[in-house]
Structure formats: structure tokens, C-alpha cells
């Protein structure tokens, strides 16, 4: 952008009480700022975020004709929105604001006041240098209609769909099974109230079935997704049901069907026919034919028994086996739920090997009146009444040993599941001895502790200490050996039935769904929310929300809460009818573009297409900048993170004593937040590092690193999200391949490649951030001052080389 004359930048240095001023000489930093080019005024303030200070800033903008503002205070993750709003109140474009993080990334991580003040000065110099080049952007508005897609018909999807439909929005509910209800439909009673699960779920399912605003698509899966909020195009593949809505659910087809297969709804504990229903209250009410197991195949009729039995003539084998539907929706709610952990993956407890070892989800079907035993508790081996029943907690949970099968997290529901089931057994078999082997009982929730107390008073034994394995005896009873930790003594107990209390894990389809919708997952495999505390149902992609156990293990109540929250978040967008998109998109300078198509191939969001030259679909662009870093001719400019702005930061960071400085490039989502976390945790690290924030490590133009070396920087550290956790799917892997190339380039320039490093740091890994920085600083210490390998100064042509290579 062409500017008229020198900018007028206002710089405000925050004391943050003593948070900053206790370490950094704030007044000295303000004095220093006054001398920087383009700075019209610089002040220090006690609390920059206070309303009074913001009014002062607004006043300064208007009285002093400021056209840029820099605040040196806490992390932009904290207060950037606050100050941007102040700029807008003063009539200044919010993209003309820049923040220097002198709290989380300075005063909280360095104890030496002198070094911290020097760093604060550098951070302010960098922010001012960047501010000089900031460009105002107008945020574009795109229309958002009133159609929502809900993926998954469990309790979360049902709740979200109903809330949206009741609010007047059109909902497509896609469920891969022939019936909705999910895991909740399999449960007998719910904790802690012991409501009958089906009794409270069935009315909701029925409402979904008849709601005029809900299009229910069962036997259906999402196959392809393109577009963006307000304009998602979704391809759904629906398998035929072979039963038409004329079905009156009389059930006369069932007894005549000659096929019997294990019933997955009953966890394989019973059999079902090829024409079937999950449970009497199933929705849709029509029966479904499992064509995989039916004797008939499309266009090949060998058995007509059900056809003959069906008086309303509702069975039609001529339906095409599958059809594709093209939906257009404005918002999406992902509610695909979770899978129960499968304990047969680990041999210790003999699941799948010993008949009388079952899981808690198997037991739900065993005790359910609609289950294979019609609610009688029978042990599978001989259908006898079990007298001694054991629950083993934490099966597949809380396992951080990478050598073992299982998940490191606590699912948070299994304690209550076992306590509930133990109480239900007590009701049906008052004589049964019930023992719950546990590590810790986690009963946090409304009415949970009370239920735990009820169980103890009912005589259920809680033994702290897990058995190491389950041994089967000749009478099919099971022996558990372990330590009663509270006694410090060994136990050896015999049980007739052992119930493994399993946790939840991410659906096996999660990866597919993640790729289809361009979402991120956390290291546990569950979908990642935009912010774990403050945006718990949003995803990083505008217009896509999370509900239920797809995001993390949840009970029914929590799933409902999140589903209703997701519905209201989606409704908020659709009610507004339009959305402002952050102006962080890519822009193609067509005069430079050669139309090579590299950007189109690297864009994770299908936001670029080449038609002679490249064109960016602004609403689909998420602003990662992978395209800009890949463009061989530098024809792509990233709004608010232009090459010139980043290079200005590099140069400002190295303006003073460059050979001591370490440049750290961070991505906005993981490693920058990880550095903030190091600050919040007050973890000290080497004070010579200067952080530069990019949106994604994939934005790293090799030129940025080369410019740092050209100016004599001791080292350059590239940081980003762990593989698989990239906010932009795979930007970090682009960074990795560029890093490999850059190392080769450094070698060919005669520089020590050890001065360049790449590390993955997640937003939660403050400790790791500090370790990584210190280890790198230690390595540079050993290498000494930057020189060419043969003892010469680095050639000033490195940046030229970078431009050619990049």
C-alpha cells in the first residue's frame, strides 16, 4: 500500500500492575519507543486494558491523529480483541493495531531485569517496524442461509437437530446406521437418576422422525464436502433400506426370515434376522433389510418369505442399492460420537477369550428389557445366575505407557457406569456379591457422589487396587489376583462374572470425517475445539461446530449440553444471515502470477483455483499462508502477514547485537500458545530468543530464515503444531519439507546447518517450549558466533539464493 508520509504510531507500554513492571523497566522501554521511526507518542500505563486507558488511547488517536497503535502488554491471545475494538471505536481500522507480548513472553519468563528490559525494547522495536507496514483491510461479509447439516444421530445429534428445527431452521440429519439413537438407545438406565434410557430417548427420536423441518437420512454417510460457511456443498451416499414408508412396523416379516446373524445392537450377545429393527421404539419405524446378510441380492431374488408375509407390500428389493444426494447447507454440526474401548486389544483380562468376561456396554444389553435375555442377568457361559460379580475400572484408560494398548486419558464416565450397573444388579439380584476394583473413583457431577454413597451403603465392595490379569477356572468362574492397596495385602477372589468398565475412544471414522470437513483433532484422536475453555463447541473452521462425544468422552447430560450449545452457535450465524470473515486471506497479485498451479495443489481448503492465473475464494481461505510460502514468484500476499511485514520484524529483531539473537518462528495456534503457556507457568528460558508469530509454520517463506542469517542471527528455530494437529491440516508438514530444503541450502552456502532447527510444540506444552528453546540455545552456544564454515562472514547473497530457491 502506498502511504502518504511517515505513519503516526502511538505506543503504549503496560505495567500490568507489577506483572510486567516488576521485572521490566517500563519507563525506559517507553523512552526507547519514542525514538523509533514513525512513533508519534509513547506512554507507559498501569493497566492498558482498563476502560480508562482505552478511552485515553481513543482520545490520543483522535487528538494526536494517530494512524497506528502498538500496545506492549500481555499476549495478543488475551487482549488483542479488546484493543482492536478500541481502535474501531476511534474510527481506525482494526488491522492497524499491533501487540508486543512483553508479559507471557518476557517478564514472566526472564528474571534478570536488564535482559528482560532489553528484550522488551526489541519486541517493541519489532512491533513498531511491523506496525509501520500494516495495511487496513475491510472484512468481507458473506450471506448465511438457514440450512444445517447434523452428522450423527445419537443423543447429541438428535438434541442439536431438534433445537435447530424448533427454531425454524432446516436440518439434514445424517446417520450411518438404519436407525437413530446411538449408544443411548443401547442403555438400560441412566445415571444418577436411573431413568429408563429408552423412555426418555424414544420421544426425542419420534420427534426427529416427524419434525417437518428435519430431513432424516439414515443408512447414509457423508462422502464429500466442499465450500464454506453459508455455502457448504455436501455429497451424501445413502444405502437402500429395501423397506418403504408403507411399512406399518407390524413385524410379520421377522419370524419368516430364515437368516440369523449376531445382533450388533446387542453387542453380539443375541441374534437378529436380516430384516430387523434395533428396538421396538426405533426411528425410523420402518424395518430395515441388512442386504449384506439377506439371501437376496439386488436384482437377484432367491427368497421371498418377507415379501409374502408383508401385507402392506412395503418391501421392495428393486430399490437401487444406493443413491447419492447433493445437499447445500450453511452450517454443520459434527456429532459422530465415540466408540467404546475394545478390551480384546489387550490380552490381560481375557475379553473375547473367556465367556464370562464382558464389558459395561455388553452388560447394558444384558440388563435391558429389550436385550437378548429380556433383562435377566445371566452369565453367558451357562445362563446361570451369577452370585459374585466384579467390575474392573479403568480398562484401556489412564495408560500412558506407550508399550501398552489403551488411552492415556480418563473417560470420566466409567466410574459412574459401574456404580449404576452395580446398583441395578443389587435391585435384581439382592444376594449377589458385587466388588468394584478401582484406582480412583471419579464421581464429579450433579448427584454422582450421592449415588456412589448409595452404592457403598448398599453393600457394594470397593477395593482399591486393580488385578493384573483375569484367570479362568475349569468351572468358567474367574479368579482375580491383586493388591488391596488400603490394606497393603494381596487378594485372590473368585467371581462368576467379570465386567470390564471401558472408556470411550475416538470413532474409527474420525479420520475420514476430519479430512472431509477439514477439521483438527487433538492427540487423543477426538475433534479439537477452537478454544478448550472459551470456544468449546466451535471448530477452527467457521460454521462447523462440535457436539457430544465426538469432541471428548461425555455422558448423556454433557452431550446434551454441548449439542444445545452447538445448535445455538449455529443458529446465531444463521439468524444473522451474514458473517464477517477475518481479513486474513491470501491475495494473488495477478501481474506476477504465472499460473503454475502450485498454490492450488498445496491449499488444504480448496480455496484457490487456477484459471489462467490463480484466484482465491476469500470465504474459503483460512489464511494459513502455505500458498504464499510455496509461490515461486512471490505472487501471493497474505493479508496482515505480508512478506514485508515479517521481514521487517526479522530486521528489527536483529537491529542490535544480532549475533546473540535467536529468531523463533511460531505458528499462531500451537507453538505461540505453547510459549504463552511457558509464561503462564513462569518457566524460565534463554532471554536471547525473539519470537515472530505466523499463522502457520507452513507460512514460513525460506527467505525469512535466510534474511535472519544474512543479518548474522545466531540461529533460527521453526516451531509448529505436532504432526496431525495442524490447525490447517498439513501446513506443519510443509514446514518440515522446507526445513529439510533449507538445511541443504545452508550447507551449500557454507553455513552450519545446526543453526537451523525445527520443533513441534503444542499449545499445552509450555514446559516443552522452554526445553526446546534452551536446548537450541545450548547448541548455538557450542557453535559460537555465526561465521561461514571456512571462517568468513556470511555472504550477502543468501537472500538472493533464497528467492531463487523458495
Amino acid at each position: 500500500m502506498k502511504r502518504d508520509g511517515e505513519p503516526r504510531i502511538g505506543v503504549y507500554i503496560c505495567h500490568c500492575g507489577t506483572n510486567i513492571a516488576g521485572v521490566v523497566d517500563v519507563k525506559a522501554v517507553a523512552e526507547f519507543a519514542k525514538g523509533l521511526p514513525g512513533v508519534a507518542l509513547a506512554k507507559d500505563m498501569m493497566y492498558a486494558c482498563s476502560e480508562a486507558t482505552q478511552r485515553e488511547i481513543i482520545n490520543d488517536i483522535q487528538q494526536e491523529r494517530l494512524d497506528r497503535v502498538v500496545v506492549a502488554a500481555c499476549s495478543p491471545k488475551m487482549h488483542e480483541p479488546t484493543f482492536r475494538a478500541a481502535l474501531e471505536r476511534a474510527g481506525l481500522n482494526k488491522y492497524l493495531f499491533e501487540m508486543a507480548n512483553i508479559r507471557e513472553q518476557d517478564s514472566w519468563v526472564h528474571k534478570d531485569g536488564g535482559q528482560a528490559t532489553e528484550k522488551a525494547k526489541d519486541l517493541v522495536r519489532m512491533a513498531v517496524a511491523r506496525a509501520r507496514l500494516l495495511i487496513p483491510y475491510k472484512e468481507s461479509e458473506i450471506p448465511v442461509g438457514e440450512r444445517a447439516l447434523v452428522v450423527g444421530g445419537g443423543i447429541a445429534g438428535i438434541q442439536a437437530a431438534l433445537d435447530l428445527a424448533d427454531s425454524g431452521y432446516k436440518v439434514f440429519l445424517v446417520e450411518k446406521e438404519p436407525f437413530i439413537g446411538g449408544h443411548m438407545a443401547q442403555l438400560d438406565k441412566t445415571f444418577p437418576t436411573l431413568d429408563c434410557s429408552t423412555c426418555i430417548l424414544a420421544p426425542k427420536m419420534a420427534e426427529v422422525g416427524r419434525h417437518p423441518n428435519i430431513t432424516l437420512l439414515t443408512n447414509a454417510e457423508v462422502e464429500a464436502v466442499s465450500g464454506f460457511v453459508g455455502n457448504f456443498k455436501v455429497k451424501v451416499r445413502q444405502r437402500a433400506r429395501f423397506v418403504t414408508p408403507e411399512c406399518t412396523a407390524c413385524g410379520e416379516c421377522v419370524p419368516v426370515c430364515p437368516v440369523a446373524v449376531p445382533d450388533e445392537f446387542n453387542m453380539g450377545l443375541g441374534l437378529r434376522k436380516a430384516i430387523y429393527k434395533s428396538l421396538p421404539q426405533a426411528v425410523p419405524a420402518e424395518y430395515a433389510i441388512d442386504i449384506e446378510n439377506c439371501l437376496n441380492k439386488p436384482n437377484l431374488l432367491v427368497c421371498e418369505k418377507c415379501l409374502q408375509a408383508c401385507s402392506p407390500k412395503a418391501i421392495n428389493f428393486e430399490q437401487p442399492p444406493e443413491k447419492e444426494l447433493d445437499l447445500e447447507v450453511d452450517t454443520v454440526i459434527i456429532a459422530i460420537g465415540a466408540d467404546p474401548y475394545d478390551p480384546s486389544k489387550s490380552q490381560d483380562y481375557g475379553y473375547g477369550k473367556y465367556e464370562n468376561v464382558i464389558t459395561t456396554i455388553d452388560f447394558e444389553r444384558l440388563i435391558s428389557p429389550t436385550g437378548p435375555t429380556l433383562g435377566k442377568i445371566l452369565r453367558p457361559s451357562d445362563l446361570g445366575k451369577p452370585k459374585r460379580i466384579a467390575f474392573i475400572q479403568c480398562v484401556g484408560s489412564r495408560i500412558s505407557n506407550p508399550e501398552l494398548e489403551g488411552n492415556p486419558y480418563c473417560s470420566g464416565i466409567c466410574c459412574m457406569v459401574s456404580i449404576k450397573q452395580a446398583l441395578l444388579i443389587k435391585e435384581k439380584l439382592p444376594e449377589a456379591e458385587i466388588t468394584i476394583y478401582y484406582i480412583d473413583i471419579r464421581a464429579k457431577g450433579k448427584g454422582f457422589e450421592e449415588m456412589y454413597r448409595r452404592a457403598r451403603l448398599a453393600g457394594i465392595r470397593f477395593i482399591k487396587g486393580l488385578p493384573a490379569e483375569v484367570l479362568e477356572n475349569s468351572d468358567k468362574s474367574l479368579t482375580l489376583v491383586g493388591e488391596n492397596i488400603l490394606l497393603g495385602e494381596l487378594y485372590e477372589h473368585r467371581h462368576d462374572l467379570v465386567i470390564l468398565s471401558v472408556g470411550l475412544e475416538a470413532r474409527k471414522e474420525s479420520e475420514k470425517v476430519q479430512k472431509l470437513f477439514g477439521l483438527a483433532r487433538s492427540s487423543d484422536g477426538f475433534f479439537a475445539e477452537k478454544h478448550p475453555k472459551l470456544e468449546p463447541v466451535d471448530t477452527a473452521t467457521t460454521g462447523i461446530f462440535l457436539a457430544g462425544a465426538a469432541e471428548s468422552p461425555k455422558d448423556i447430560r454433557e452431550s446434551s449440553i454441548q449439542a444445545k450449545a452447538a445448535a445455538s452457535r449455529a443458529a446465531r450465524l444463521m439468524k444473522e444471515g451474514k458473517i464477517r470473515i477475518e481479513a486474513l486471506s491470501a491475495e494473488v497479485r495477478e501481474e506476477l502470477c504465472a499460473g503454475c498451479g502450485i498454490c492450488e495443489s498445496v491449499c488444504p481448503f480448496n480455496a484457490i483455483h487456477v484459471d489462467g492465473t490463480s484466484h482465491v475464494t476469500e470465504a474459503a481461505c483460512q489464511g494459513c499462508g502455505v500458498c504464499a510460502a510455496s509461490c515461486p514468484v512471490g505472487a501471493i500476499e497474505m493479508h496482515h502477514f505480508t512478506d514485508a511485514q515479517v521481514l521487517a520484524q526479522v530486521e528489527a529483531a536483529l537491529a542490535d547485537r544480532p549475533k546473540e539473537k535467536i529468531i523463533v518462528f511460531t505458528c499462531n495456534w500451537c507453538s505461540y500458545a505453547g510459549a504463552d503457556m511457558a509464561g503462564t507457568s513462569r518457566l524460565e528460558y534463554d532471554p536471547r530468543v525473539r519470537l515472530i508469530r505466523l499463522m502457520c509454520s507452513g507460512r514460513l517463506n525460506p527467505q525469512f530464515a535466510l534474511r535472519a542469517f544474512e543479518l548474522g542471527a545466531a540461529g533460527v528455530l521453526i516451531t509448529g503444531c505436532h504432526p496431525g494437529e495442524c490447525h490447517y491440516q498439513s501446513g506443519n508438514l510443509r514446514a518440515l519439507s522446507r526445513y529439510e530444503l533449507l538445511k541443504r541450502l545452508l550447507r551449500s552456502l557454507g553455513l552450519q546447518e545446526e543453526r537451523l532447527a525445527l520443533e513441534w510444540v503444542s499449545a499445552a506444552e509450555g514446559e516443552r517450549f522452554a526445553q526446546v528453546v534452551n536446548a537450541f540455545a545450548g547448541r548455538l552456544e557450542r557453535l559460537g558466533v555465526l561465521t561461514k564454515a571456512k571462517g568468513e562472514e556470511p555472504a550477502l547473497t543468501t537472500a538472493e539464493a533464497g528467492r531463487r530457491e523458495g
Binding site: I439, A468, L490
Partner: protein, 131 residues
Amino acid sequence: MDKMGKIDLSAKELQEEVEALSGQRVFACYHCGKCTAGCPFASEMDLTPRQVLEYIMEGRVEVLNSRTIWLCAACFTCTVRCPNGIDIARVMEALRQILLRRGEDSLDLASLGEEELPQIALVAGARKLIG
């Protein structure tokens, strides 16, 4: 177990020495009891393997007087089962080493003299009782 008389270690020194010798983070233990549950010698031990870890976490130096650390056969059953990835067999070895390296309970092969010893006892003793 008697109060530790022979070796003068503070609680912190004990913890540091165990972690340094074993390379294990003892404090990761959350007391599930699977180490004891699978231990073939647990019934003969005065402290269960899990209690040994608790003694270290509590900095109780008398753990060095426990029979358990000598009964441990280093079969590694506890190690492979620990959900927290603590190599408990190494922790046991570290406790033995603390004693052996100070000359406590160590075996002086030369002093065995002429008495008849089964070969297996000699080899096992040499392995386990020499610091």
C-alpha cells in the same frame, strides 16, 4: 523393617539417587496396584512393589531395609504391566545399587572360600549382589 541405621540419606537424596540410577520417574505412580498384582513373589515380600514406590515418594529411607528389593527376581512382569510406563524392576535394582555401592550387603566372591554352592546361586549372587 528396622529403622535405617547404616546409610545416611535424606529423603530428597534417596529420591534423586533412585531416579538417577534407574532413569525412572517414580512420581508418575498413581497406585493402581498392577505391579503387585502380577508379582510372583508379592506374597513373600514385606512391602508390596507398589508400597516400595510409595516409600520412595515419601522419602522413607527404611525402604532400603526391605526384603522386597532382594526378593525381586527382576522378572519384569511389573515393568510390562505398569500403565504409567515405570520400569519398576529398574527401581528395585536402583535400591539394591544404593546399598551395594556403599558396600552394604554386597557379596565378596573371594571370601566365599571352599564351601559348596550350587552354580546357579553363585551366578545369580554374582549378578545381583555385586555393586
